[in-house]
């Protein structure tokens, strides 16, 4: 076993390149792991096939024995948030997966059938696909990853008069950033980079200083008030070390949550995006995939169908350490100013 380092990359290695932000091809090596460490793993959460079943939330709670809380993180309280089907509310110390529900509508100018079940218009005489290939519908329904099937039969999208209704559902999780704000901020070394490239809190080290909480640009990690320490998704570190998939990915019935080697997931996500875009899903985009973003890319990234902030995600997150050199420069100038002011005040005053 290699020596595990709780230091953030900036402390290690000789080269200055991308240790505070920017792409890092081998994040584990930067954290001090020797050659031969496992490949970096991650989540690809494809929200276009999420059905909002919350199996991931339940599996996570069960596996990690997380206590219950309401939508605002209050322990042992049942509360209805009033936010669609979302009573989890947010990621926090007790919720490491959070399924967001957004109901949206848009107007359409087609003379749509006024009423009926979703997909009803397929029964109207249509010289298109339906008649020529009688089993096209069945075939398309069989493939849950087919975007055409989604747009035709998707239970998330329905019609009412001139309005089209859709539900966005997305299972949010810790992003396990390449440059993690929480990891940079932790003054005790409780947060560390695992051999899998994930970021995990060591509960026996954390002293509850809380500095990681505002340092996360995504608002993931939080303090458990009655406990004092902070908690967040570990990507089931205990399961990974035993060669198992994380609980949420194992429980997901639609493969919306995909777990695997990060490079493989990225290739899969790129292909999925290309498929969706070629099929006319013009709002699809990947979030956290870009290694040149403010956190050097995410270990857990997403395919979204709307702007990130619709799902409660920051549109352009930046790791706090990005601007740290400028801040320290300013603080050093301020400290020098203090000494200068006091020195000139002492020298400039007459003694009586």
């Amino acid at each position: 076993m290699t020596t595990v380092s709780s230091a953030s990359p900036a402390l290690k290695a000789a080269d200055q390149k991308n240790r505070l932000f920017g792409p890092l091809p081998d994040v584990q090596a930067e954290a001090g792991y020797e050659e031969g460490h496992p490949k970096r793993v991650g989540f690809f959460t494809d929200t276009s096939v999420c059905i909002g079943c919350k199996a991931c939330e339940v599996a996570c709670k069960e596996w990690n024995t997380l206590p219950m809380d309401d939508a605002h993180g209050t322990r042992d309280v049942i509360g209805l948030s009033g936010m669609a089907y979302d009573n989890t509310g947010q990621l926090g110390a007790n919720s490491w997966r959070h399924v967001a529900f957004i109901e949206q509508s848009r107007t359409v100018d087609l003379p749509m059938p006024g009423v009926g079940l979703p997909g009803a218009r397929l029964e109207t005489p249509d010289p298109g696909v339906g008649l020529q290939e009688p089993d096209a519908q069945a075939k398309a329904q069989a493939s849950v990853l087919n975007a055409e099937a989604l747009s035709e039969f998707d239970p998330q999208t329905g019609h009412s008069a001139d309005r089209q209704i859709r539900w966005l559902m997305s299972s949010d999780v810790c992003k396990h950033c390449t440059h993690a704000g929480c990891l940079d901020a932790c003054p005790t070394g409780a947060l560390f980079r695992t051999e899998f490239g994930t970021v995990v809190v060591q509960g026996d080290i954390c002293n509850g200083c809380g500095y990681c909480v505002p340092s996360c640009p995504y608002g993931v990690i939080d303090q458990r008030k009655d406990d004092g320490r902070v908690f967040k998704c570990t990507m089931c570190y205990d399961r990974l070390t035993d060669g198992l998939m994380p609980a949420c990915a194992t429980a997901c019935p639609t493969q919306s949550i995909q777990f695997g080697d990060l490079d493989e997931l990225q290739a899969r996500a790129d292909a999925r995006l290309a498929t969706l875009q070629s099929q006319g899903v013009e709002t699809a985009r990947l979030y956290g995939r870009d290694e040149n973003d403010g956190v050097g890319g995410n270990g857990a990234f997403f395919l979204l169908l709307d702007e990130p902030e619709v799902y409660g995600l920051p549109p352009d997150p930046i790791v706090p350490a990005h601007d740290m050199p400028a801040m320290w420069k300013s603080a050093a100038a301020g400290a020098a100013m203090i000494v200068g002011v006091v020195l000139s005040a002492v020298l400039g005053s007459r003694k009586r």
Binding site: C216, V310, P314, P315, S330, K351
Partner: protein
């Protein structure tokens, strides 16, 4: 009316009657400074049911602002104590050393009390991490409070005069960083209103610490020896007011929380106290009553500034507007090939 594919988001709008699309409020925040070209129109922003995106700090309110205040004031008084000692002002030296010692020990107390697991405070010394302002601060605070506390103790007991001078100088070396590192502590987070003014905040804290340190030593030191205190207090108040003005006006929408609500009230009171204290120092600082009144005003102004800055940051963390709008502006500026108008 049809929303076509040309509409951003392909025309999709939130359907459940929830409307959180608010107009961005640039009122009084001076986001169009002279000569500055508006990169983006007043944009609407979207959020998830108005919920915050980042988590607000879990730091407790009286503890952390008091830590900021005491750390700053004891830092500058330690510097003053060492220089007053070297220039032969025994009474001022004694006052400065005693406050630096008491203030630094109390600030450690507040910091430890704020931990979720106070009994584990020594875990801070397990590692040294330059990327963590709190870790760097630990290695400023620990030697500073040890040196300042020991100096104050031997000052009180009257032992080891030479050791006393050495301890005073050691604490003075760490005094300046002690007063300004806390600004990096706040700025080096994702909290928009702390992060935005990250270049000015260390100067706000330095000025505030000078004003408080000068003010407190003016109150307790004899008027005849307190000349340096008066000078540093007035200079510090000027720096504090100037830097705070830039924080409050120069950062677009993230300057807004500094004007509104409780933070706005606190900061207006801070400004009034600091201005009055500095003015009174100049006019009546050489009288006993005047120096006590002006010193107290300056210390109060510094304390209120810390509470106000702390509050403004908390407000900006709780409202998704302050996270989304600056990030959208940054993205728009990047697309247009301009430098961002709002600093990150």
């Amino acid at each position: 009316m049809t929303e076509g594919v040309a509409t951003p988001g392909a025309g999709w709008r939130r359907a459940d009657g929830w409307t959180d699309k608010r107009k961005k409020n640039g009122r009084r925040s001076g986001r169009r400074a002279a000569g500055e070209v508006a990169m983006v129109e007043d944009a609407e922003f979207t959020s998830y049911y108005g919920r915050p995106i980042i988590k607000a700090p879990v730091w407790k309110s009286p503890d952390v602002p008091l830590y900021l205040f005491l750390g700053g004031a004891s830092g500058t008084t330690a510097v003053l104590g060492a220089l007053a000692d070297l220039s032969g002002r025994p009474a001022l030296t004694r006052v400065a050393r005693l406050f630096a010692g008491a203030g630094s020990i109390a600030s450690v107390g507040f910091l430890v009390h704020d931990l979720g697991r106070p009994e584990r405070f020594l875990h801070m010394l397990r590692v040294m991490k330059p990327t963590s302002a709190l870790s760097v601060g630990t290695y400023i605070l620990s030697p500073f409070s040890a040196a300042a506390g020991a100096t104050a103790a031997v000052e009180l007991l009257g032992w080891f005069p030479r050791l006393k001078r050495f301890g005073g100088i050691v604490s003075a070396l760490f005094g300046g960083p002690m007063a300004t590192y806390t600004a990096v502590l706040l700025a080096n987070t994702a909290v928009p209103s702390w992060r935005g003014p990250h270049k000015e905040l260390p100067f706000v804290f330095a000025g505030s610490a000078l004003a408080a340190g000068g003010g407190i030593t003016m109150v307790f030191a004899p008027v005849g020896e307190a000349g340096p205190s008066r000078k540093m207090a007035v200079a510090g108040a000027a720096v504090e007011l100037a830097a705070m003005h830039r924080v409050e006006t120069g950062h677009g929408i993230v300057s807004e929380p500094f004007h509104e609500g409780r933070a706005g009230t606190l900061l207006r009171a801070a400004k009034a106290c600091t201005t009055a204290g500095a003015g009174l120092t100049v006019v009546a600082g050489r009288s006993r009553v005047g120096s006590i009144a002006s010193g107290a005003l300056l210390a109060a102004g510094s304390l209120l500034t810390r509470f106000g800055v702390f509050d403004a940051g908390m407000v900006s963390a709780r409202d998704p507007k302050y996270t989304v709008v600056p990030q959208r502006e940054r993205m728009a500026a990047r697309e247009n090939g301009h430098a961002p108008t709002v600093s990150r």
